[in-house]
Chain length 291, copies 2
């Protein structure tokens, strides 16, 4: 059975559409049985996903994939990034309050640097931007021994893998960030880790998340984007994904809700405890005798 | 002329009372002339303040005094404090996410440490609390060269002095914090700087602010408490002062409003630009021929 599209239309309020999609996903997920891990998958349309399973033909099912931001969402690294940016900016005679840096963390490094320099009214030569980015990378490298996985991050990822829910990581950091992710978290090699180097535009553009969904072979509209910053949530909205906010990057709850978070949890551990609220149930093969 | 009390009553909504008090203060302030700096002052009642001026008898006037928190309000030091607490906790094998530490900054060190240890479920021996506090002080000392005054902090304080508005600093830090304040800011020696060591209970108890008001000789109910954390604003409410929030400590705007902020500004510079909105006008001697 091919699942119907959820029936999005530009004239209907987003909240209703999201609620319907969730209800539908959960209803479907509840009525079907566990399924072996997909060997290969292809996104088809924006309502359901058709997945090819080796040795068992074609099964159609709706699945909520999870696309995770990295810093502040899986890793407790935001405050180290913030003070590294501060150090890098000061090294180039740019004075900026630390809280303003914090509120821009999670944008792409280029946009971030441009935004900060615009606030200071300094001219934005590409050389200066590159130099500040390099100084940040160096300063963060020195602080990386203070970075830890957030509570429940590994357990959440392991749980999703064990119940065969597709997931990926999408970070505004460069390829080095992917290496950092693997230093702190056990991420299987077949899990996509999309970085700034893989896409043309980073957050708040939606490219990182749409690319992650593409690599998973799932429709972005069926995916849940989990992030700690308003930039993750704005990117999620632009991608038409469902945004879920975590407080673990230091933003306030209302800031995340105003940016479009459907739900806000404290950290990965709290999200894991409430996974059913965001459609993260065990999904499996449908047995309806129609094929 | 002795000013009437604003007429607070437990049955009236706080917002109305606050608005009335502000309107009254601004109206009074607008109608009167500049005044020489008080040589001595005494708080009398909770509606107006009677101040004795050397050589010119007794003048009665309503004045909005400003009581400032230090870290995150006048100094850009919160993120350095946060990572210093993190380091101190880890040194004692206490793992806690950095954002949770951030959200407790501004409480008294003792309450803060107890709160953090309670979250981790560890037993709270006084020795452990003292050891963590000492490790924090040492770690913060190492980071203090990264601390800066917040934009507009010195200008705001200088402006208040120049227009003869009383002001004081009230910090949950120990006496060492007062020395730090004077390292980064030019605070005249006759300005009260109240620290944790001067009162029995620190924020969110109101003692720091009531003590600061007492030293200024102003009624706490006529004072504006300026702080970056919800603990400042809760303490302000408990003291029946007017709370004004600043974003410069990294809390979100809604968090501060929910905690009771009457207004929220970005930083001291932004507050200075909008000082008339919180009753911070030039106040002076009343000439009404009634005395």
């Amino acid at each position: 059975m091919r699942l119907d599209n959820v029936g999005r239309s530009a004239n209907r309020p987003t909240a209703n559409i999201v609620a319907e999609a969730l209800i539908k996903t959960v209803r479907i997920a509840s009525s079907i049985e566990p399924l072996p891990l997909p060997g290969e998958s292809n996104g088809l349309g924006d309502g359901g996903t058709t997945v090819a399973f080796e040795g068992c033909g074609i099964a159609s099912w709706s699945v909520t994939a999870f696309l995770f931001d990295l810093d502040g969402t899986l890793l407790d690294s935001v405050y180290q990034h913030v003070l590294s940016w501060r150090e890098a900016l000061e090294a180039h005679d740019i004075q900026l309050s630390v809280w303003k840096i914090h509120r821009k963390i999670g944008m792409s490094g280029g946009l971030f640097t441009q935004g900060l320099l615009r606030e200071t009214g300094r001219p934005l030569s590409p050389e200066l931007i590159a130099a500040v980015q390099e100084a940040h990378a160096e300063a963060y490298q020195r602080r990386m021994d203070q970075v830890r996985p957030l509570p429940g991050a590994q357990e959440l990822l392991d749980h999703l893998s064990s119940v065969q829910v597709p997931w990926a990581v999408a970070t505004s950091g460069r390829t080095g960030s992917a290496a950092a992710a693997r230093r702190f978290l056990d991420i299987p090699l077949d899990i996509p880790v999309v970085t700034r180097d893989d896409v043309e535009h980073a957050k708040p553009d939606p490219d990182l998340f749409t690319e992650a969904a593409r690599r998973l072979g799932v429709a972005i509209e069926e995916a849940v984007v989990v992030g700690d910053s308003v930039w993750d949530l704005l990117a999620a909205r632009r991608a038409r994904a469902l945004g879920v906010g975590l407080l673990s990057g230091g933003y306030g709850e209302d800031e995340l809700i105003r940016a479009g978070a459907y739900r806000v949890y404290a950290d990965p551990s709290d999200l894991l405890a409430h996974l059913d609220e965001v459609g993260g149930r065990r999904v499996g093969r449908e047995r309806d005798g129609q094929r």
